[in-house]
Amino acid sequence: MDRSEIESKLNDLLVDELGIDRDALAQDAKFEEDLDVDSLGVVELLMALEDNFGVKIPDEEAEQITTVGEAVDLVEKKLAS
């Protein structure tokens, strides 16, 4: 799976599950500051990514995710390993 597919899926989840405006999405968009996603929302998003991509994101790594781009990077990394 290539990066753009992961990005596309992540954007769909953000729009469908968290009700975010598709126009607001950008690689460097910060979940909490720019997209108004609360910390629980980020947890839910990462859980949805785990389910959708069949990967496991340990707590310590999940804590580091603050932007859309970082979430895509992490999923890409997990899929590759």
Partner: protein, 244 residues
């Protein structure tokens, strides 16, 4: 509405009464036990005989891997846990000056660490479903203190702080997190105290007697129901009026 419920320490005492009550309310109940398989099977049979649905599932609730495995089993056999009752608890009484580190650790692990491990595991599914009930059994010991039970009281007071914090974390997703604080209830745990202590206790209890497991189960049943949809972060005391 029939939901999937998990009761830790559900084979005896308060846990068994809770499991039986939830089953009569139509829920599918997973009865967790740690060592007493016979008691767990007896509880499951009693529930089935009364027309309910239950399974027995072994786990050491203070152990992370064991809890993960238990949730996998319950997930496969019954579905995602919607009602979690954290009832498993032990005592290792001693004056603090005579309390060994093992006695401290064991009680904190079985009584409090377990609540964190099971809640974390259950919240995954509850968040997805945007519905959940977590009810943990605290104790009046945790609220008022009890000589000889610094470890037990600390674990039970810890449950109250945990309950309030998690209630604030997940409330926006339709999940309530509450605790029930029983007083002296007639179970194996209080039988072990002996007549002298329980008689002395009765004199301090407004209702003048020990409580029955069913009387605590009724409180858990309420908090697990839709009737308690606006109650969260709360500790419901069921003590016959001892810690007034």
């Amino acid at each position: 509405m029939s939901r999937v419920a998990l009761v830790t320490g559900g084979s005896r005492g308060i846990g068994r009464a809770v499991a039986e009550l939830l089953a009569t309310q139509g829920h599918r109940v997973a009865v967790n036990y740690t060592a007493n398989e016979a008691a767990a099977d007896a509880a499951v049979e009693a529930i089935a005989a009364a027309g309910g649905s239950a399974i027995a599932v072994q786990a050491d609730v203070g152990d992370a891997d064991s809890v993960t495995a238990m949730f996998a089993v319950v997930g496969e056999r019954l579905g995602s846990v919607e009602i979690l009752v954290n009832n498993a608890g032990i005592t290792r009484d001693a004056l603090v000056l005579r309390m060994g580190v093992e006695a401290w650790d064991e009680v904190i692990e079985t009584n409090l660490r377990s609540v964190y491990l099971t809640s974390k595991a259950a919240l995954r599914g509850m968040l997805r479903a945007r519905w959940g009930r977590i009810v943990s059994i605290s104790s009046v010991s945790g609220i008022a203190g009890n000589p000889g039970q610094a470890n037990y009281a600390a674990s039970k007071a810890g449950i109250i702080g945990f309950t309030k914090s998690v209630a604030r974390e997940v409330g926006s997703r339709g999940i309530t997190v509450n605790a029930v604080a029983p007083g002296f209830i007639e179970t194996d745990m209080t039988d072990a105290l002996g007549d002298e202590i329980t008689t002395a206790a009765s004199e301090r209890i407004a209702l003048g007697r020990l409580g029955q497991p069913e009387e605590v189960a009724a409180a858990v049943g309420y908090l697990a129901s839709d009737d308690a949809s606006y109650v969260t972060g709360h500790t419901l005391v069921v003590d016959g009026g001892i810690a007034l």
